[in-house]
């Protein structure tokens, strides 16, 4: 049976991981390779790296990091941040990235999804969507949730799918950072509408939140950052608990 995936997300800047990471046996919490390796040993199914300060000048630093991760880590990983052209994506593919994640660039120029899917295959293209509830519906937001658009989240996701997105990474900006659980209702609504995998993001606070997101919305994967980095949730324990709750996980 296809397992549900647990995905730690790492923010990187200038080729180094940022945000506090609190692993006891870590020699260098800023080293993305060591962190990625640790997570792969703990049973993470996949990793996402978000380059939070991606610029053209710093592209080479990111590529060096991607290569270093690909050399050492035996699970798939996705790179997001600052990808707006085919050549950005191609360089990441050649450096060993399994997938790339695009967000604002796809909203600004949706044809980018078609171009990437045609050039590298749909499996390579993750479309990340930041969404917020507003009184008149759910709307796509840009730049980490700061800039609202008039694009309805549900419509945008269907469009992204039809243009060649291979996967949707849906972050609820209402939930992100609150540790109050994932947005099960919206996730279920989206998950029921598409025939590509959906990754839930935003709101993970405890182990029950992961049980709930899989049981209530049936998404394919759940992503979180701080609960893993600070050791509040340990992946082996989380997966054992998911399994006890009859959720298919790789152990």
């Amino acid at each position: 049976m296809l397992s549900k995936r647990i995905i730690p997300c790492l923010d990187v800047k200038d080729g180094r991981t940022v945000k506090g990471v609190n692993f006891v046996d870590l020699r260098d919490a800023g080293d993305p390779v060591e962190l990625a390796w640790q997570y792969s040993q703990q049973g993470a199914d996949e990793l996402v790296f978000l380059d939070i300060a991606a610029t053209h000048e710093k592209r080479k630093t990111t590529l060096d990091m991607v290569k270093a991760v690909a050399r050492q880590v035996n699970i798939p990983f996705t790179i997001g941040g600052g990808i707006s052209e085919l050549k950005d994506a191609e360089a990441l593919l050649n450096a060993g990235a399994d997938k790339i994640s695009i967000n604002s660039a796809a909203v600004r120029r949706p044809e980018l999804i078609n171009e990437l899917a045609n050039a590298f295959g749909v499996q390579f293209v993750v479309v990340a969507v930041d969404t917020k509830h507003l009184p008149h519906g759910d709307f796509v937001h840009l730049n980490g949730g700061r800039i609202p658009t008039e694009i309805q989240t549900q419509h945008w996701i269907k469009e992204a799918e039809s243009r060649g997105a291979g996967e949707i990474l849906l972050t609820s900006m209402d939930k992100d950072g609150t540790k109050s659980g994932f947005d099960y209702i919206l996730l279920k609504e989206i998950n029921d509408r598409v025939t590509i995998p959906v990754i839930a993001s935003g709101g993970a606070g405890n182990e029950q939140d992961f049980i709930d997101v899989f049981q209530k919305s049936d998404v394919d994967a759940a992503l979180a950052a701080s609960v893993f980095h600070y050791g509040e949730i340990l992946i082996p324990e989380l997966k054992a608990l998911l399994k006890q709750n009859n959720i298919a996980v790789r152990i």
Binding site: S3, G96, G121, V194
Partner: protein, 196 residues
């Protein structure tokens, strides 16, 4: 030493990295005479099977591949190339193992691509699945699958339908998942191939 058929179908950095982690020596096959340099051959591949077949044909390596008596391992689209035919682009392929590559039917309950970790069940005692227990998880990313065949299937996987996660005929082996991305299980499979 393993030779990797270098015909321009996708990135092989992850594959060569995995071989390096396992201390398995490898080199690239760019022309027919290069086949003599290696004891075993890997045919990698990602993307569109029809396009990959076209590139392989243009490389001029097809007759030499078909004539190989050394162990050969096809990975992902490299596996599909070894079959007769793919529904992707309605393409005729190498026809080394007489099975077909078909498209998954899209359903909300079984999304396409089939992406993620799924369990495999070895069949027919194929040596590349040695020391790999039934139910072991491997990492898959694909929209087309190779039909189950009682004779040639070396491992099965279920995704709405039972399909071939691995196939074998004589010295030709192939796997649909990505061993280079499948954690320790994938490393075991690469070691099994290297030790054939």
């Amino acid at each position: 030493m393993i030779g990797i058929v270098n015909y321009g179908a996708g990135n092989i950095f992850s594959l060569t990295s995995a071989l390096e982690r396992l201390n398995i020596q490898y080199g690239m096959i760019n022309q027919e005479s290069d086949f003599d340099l290696y004891e075993k051959i890997i045919i990698p591949g990602v993307g569109h099977a029809g396009t990959a077949m076209q590139k392989l044909t243009e490389s001029g390596l097809v007759p030499a591949i078909k004539a190989l008596k050394k162990p050969v391992l096809g990975i992902c689209v490299g596996m599909q190339l070894i079959t007769s035919y793919s529904e992707e682009g309605n393409s005729d392929l190498l026809d080394i193992i007489p099975v077909k590559t078909l498209r998954f039917k899209e359903e909300v309950s079984h999304k396409v691509p089939h992406m993620g970790w799924n369990q495999i069940y070895p069949e027919n005692d194929s040596p590349i699945f040695s020391k790999i227990a039934p139910g072991t998880y491997f990492y898959f990313v694909h929209s087309y699958f190779i039909e189950f065949n009682p004779k040639f299937t070396a491992a099965t996987c279920n995704y709405g339908i039972k399909f071939s996660a691995g196939i074998q005929k004589d010295n030709f082996y192939a796997v649909q998942f990505h061993p280079e991305k499948s954690g320790e299980a994938g490393e075991q499979l690469l070691k099994n191939f290297a030790n054939l």
